[in-house]
Amino acid sequence: MGLAIKGRQIDRIIVIDDDKYGRESSGFAVEESPFEPIIQERGITNLNSFLENDINKTDAVVSDHHLKKRNYFPENGAKVVYECYERQIPAVLVTRFGESEINEIRKFREKIPVILTPGEFNPHTLISSLEICINEFLGNRRPERVAWRTLIRIEDIVDNNIFIFIPGWNYEVSISINKQDLPQEIRNVIKADMRLHAKVNVGAERSEDLFFKDWEAK
């Protein structure tokens, strides 16, 4: 079977989840789609060799974000999807994430085109997600995924958390980002009440979908 999306043939999809039943249940939707699920049962210790060798045998990836709880994967799913993006392999993150993981994912969010919750994940959304990925590889980002230079106000710095406002996105909602995710030169100068610029996908609806790049220190 398989399916050609935007001129790209997708036949096999690798399913990555550190929980056996999680892999199995994610496989259900893939089974019902035109693709063949390849369930990654074996744990891997080296992400690079996995990306070089195993992934090339498949056409796309479906991964959970939480992979490190067991001795299964050395990195979490956000990083896996990011690396796939770098290699132009369509990858969909299927996960539920809480506040504690938002920043973990945000770090790679620019190159994570789609995040689906387990409830949203089905054969149709799988196909549309792969389409979104391939479109991005082709340079067609949806408006909510395009980053624009915008003003950022630092509201407060508490330990490792930086609370910011992005007036161009929503001037009422404070967003927390991790200090360590900022470039070194920004980390060095940052302080409360400071205003600076960065590129942000201000078209995103939800705060967890925002990503930041190209920070400018004054």
Binding site: H66, G119, V158
Partner: protein, 644 residues
């Protein structure tokens, strides 16, 4: 000593002794004569005692306590003779001059060996003697002849009364071995002092020479008769007593009756030294001035023994102590100097210990405290006393506060462990089991639709929907638990009262739904706010909701209801949560705030305690009404706000 019918006027006091007795001549020329005594303190008695007593004024006062005084004496020199005399006081009252009253001494010759000694009875007492007086007499008699010494030749005063027996048992207990410090100081016949302090095992801790005690360079000899001073000092601290055989209470009781520094002149106690309230060495004053390592009359017992064969110390006529002569003054100086020396040595040890502890854990608080104390000690004496007292009060209050906080930390540690565990479980269940159930049930849903399209609606749709609903509730509950732990909520920020209440209500929505509880809001106009962490305020609202949810489990109402109301009055927002449960029953309203107090067998009894503590932290107060608006309880808080 015997007491008869003393509970009312007219009773009798009888005093027997086994002394050498008197014949008619001795009674006439000694006992009956005031202002002189046949006894000479310069002559030691055959038993090695120094005779006591001089003018007989005290005896006269005692004999006058009754209507008649009766004397019977058998002299040791003639054990077949008994002499008797009765003094009838009314005769003196009616006589013009005392010589007109005859005092005939009867002499009976009785064959056989009589026991020598004298008996004096004071009959027809003019005053009753209360139980308290008896206790005082018993104490006085017991202490009279130095019960702390083991001298076999010492007087053995006995009061035939139960109070006495009780006290005798008590005094014989001698808890000396429980004393943490035993000071033994002495002045020898040449006026030179020395001292040592021993621990409870009798091992010498510190030793002092004359100069150590009286000050370096001070070689002047003490102008007083040979004196010894024993002082047993107890550290009445319950932790110190856990390993001892005697309880701290026993020792406290013992010290209450016998504590203080007693003074014995030639083996007989001199009043009032060492009586309750008598602090002739100013121990309590010294302790108040510098409390560290100082004994007080409440935690020590002492004996000063003066061998005054020269009669250098004279008692006042009213027997209220010694005349304040130079000799007495010297004794007092010696005792106080010995106490000062001991305190100094003990402070030295305590300081050494402190330094060691400081090396172990350099506590900034302790150091600062010590520095304050040092600075205080440099002040001029007038200011120092007051500041020292204030600082000690402050220090005590702080210690008490620390104790309470430690207990609270313990409590909250338990709670946070429960919270962390709940969060971990929520996290875990959301990650895997919920994902599996969701994806599996969605697959079943899709597949039944595909493979059994005819039967889907009738057979599968409902159960599949039920599972999806269950999963949704579980997801929300897990999210709610984790939301409470959000670090952003611990930031101090502007907290919008209504927003937080609504958010918590939304978070609880599946919970309320699952329990058929209708939640109504009745908010004041505007958006009252204050500055705090959202987490603090959220914990108040969450626990109030939890409390109502638990109360509604026992509701018989057709519709279970919760009403959350806010009212703004000046700078205060009053937030109350009403429900139509059974109200506050089976527990005192004021007890609901106490940790562990709950009427819910599955509850922890900590929810409302957290409400109270969090409210206090926000500068507010809590209240509870047993039955209010909806019929059930109304529990709420009043918090100061910045604006609306």
């Amino acid at each position: 000593m015997e007491l008869e019918d003393i509970t009312d006027e007219g009773g009798t006091i009888t005093i027997h002794d086994s002394g050498k007795g008197m014949d008619a001549n001795e009674i006439n020329n000694g006992w009956l004569v005031l202002g002189q005594s046949s006894k000479s303190i310069k002559e030691i008695t055959p038993l090695g005692r120094t005779p006591a007593g001089s003018k007989g004024l005290g005896r006269l006062a005692a004999l006058r306590m009754g209507n008649t005084a009766y004397l019977r004496s058998v002299p040791k020199s003639n054990l077949e003779s008994e002499f008797q005399l009765t003094i009838n006081w009314p005769q003196f009252d009616s006589a013009d001059i005392v010589e007109n009253v005859q005092l005939p001494i009867t002499h009976n010759h009785l064959p056989g060996n009589l026991t020598h000694g004298s008996t004096i009875s004071i009959r027809g007492l003019k005053q009753r003697i209360s139980e308290r007086d008896v206790r005082k007499i018993a104490r006085g008699l017991i202490l009279l002849a130095d019960p702390f010494d083991d001298d076999p030749a010492a007087f053995k005063p006995i009061l035939r009364s139960p109070e006495f027996q009780e006290m005798e048992v008590l005094v014989s207990k001698r808890y000396f071995s429980d004393a943490d410090y035993h000071l033994f100081a002495s002045v020898d016949q040449t006026g030179h002092a020395s001292a040592r302090v021993m621990d409870y095992l009798g091992q010498t801790l510190f030793e002092a020479t004359h100069e150590d005690i009286l000050g370096k360079g001070n070689t002047t000899i003490l102008n007083c008769p040979a004196t010894t001073f024993d002082l047993w000092s107890f550290i009445l601290n319950s932790t110190m007593f856990t390993s001892r055989t005697n309880s701290i209470t026993e020792i406290r009781d013992w010290l209450k009756d016998f504590g203080g520094v007693h003074l014995y002149q030639n083996g007989l106690r001199v009043n009032p030294y060492g009586n309750p309230g008598n602090d002739w060495l100013n121990m309590n004053l010294s302790r108040a001035r510098s409390p560290e390592e100082r004994p007080s009359t409440n935690n020590s017992i002492g004996v000063v023994r003066v061998s005054d064969s020269e009669g250098l110390l004279s008692q006042k006529t009213d027997r209220a102590g010694f005349i304040e002569s130079d000799v007495f003054h010297e004794i007092r100086i010696f005792c106080q100097a010995a106490l000062d020396w001991m305190a100094k040595e003990r402070i030295g040890v305590a300081e050494f210990k402190r330094q060691k502890n400081r090396q172990k854990s350099s506590s900034a608080a302790t150091e600062t405290r010590d520095r304050v104390q040092q600075s205080i000690s440099k002040l001029n004496p007038a200011d120092r006393e007051e500041i020292e007292e204030l600082f000690n009060k402050y220090d005590k209050a702080t210690q008490a506060e620390v104790k309470v906080l430690k207990a609270e930390v313990q409590l909250y540690r338990t709670l946070s462990t429960a919270g962390i565990t709940a969060a971990t479980f929520s996290h875990e269940s959301r990650g895997n089991p919920l994902k599996v159930i969701t994806q599996a049930i969605n697959a079943i849903d899709r597949r039944t639709k595909e493979y059994f399209p005819a039967n889907y609606e009738a057979v599968f749709a409902k159960p599949i929907q039920s599972i999806l609903n269950g999963v949704r509730s579980l997801e929300v509950l897990g999210t709610a638990t984790l939301k409470l732990l959000s670090h952003e909520k611990r930031r101090i920020t502007r907290v919008d009262v209504h927003n937080v209440i609504s958010n918590v209500r939304d978070m609880f929505a599946p919970f309320f739904e699952g329990r058929d509880i209708v939640v109504e809001e009745d908010f004041a106009a505007g958006h009252p706010y204050f500055r705090s962490s959202e987490a603090a305020f959220e914990s108040i609202i969450t626990n109030l909701f939890n409390n109502s949810i638990a109360a509604l489990e026992n509701s018989t109402a057709e519709q279970r209801r919760i009403l959350i109301q806010t009212v703004v009055q000046e700078n205060i927002v009053k937030i109350s949560v009403h429900d139509n449960g059974p109200g506050i029953t089976g527990i005192n309203v004021k007890d609901i705030w106490l940790p562990g107090e709950t009427t819910n067998p599955n509850g922890t009894g900590l929810g409302l305690t957290i409400v109270r503590d969090a409210t206090t932290d926000l500068g507010g107060s809590v209240f509870a009404i047993e039955n209010s608006l909806l019929g059930g309880a109304e529990i709420g808080v009043e918090l100061p706000i910045i604006g609306i």
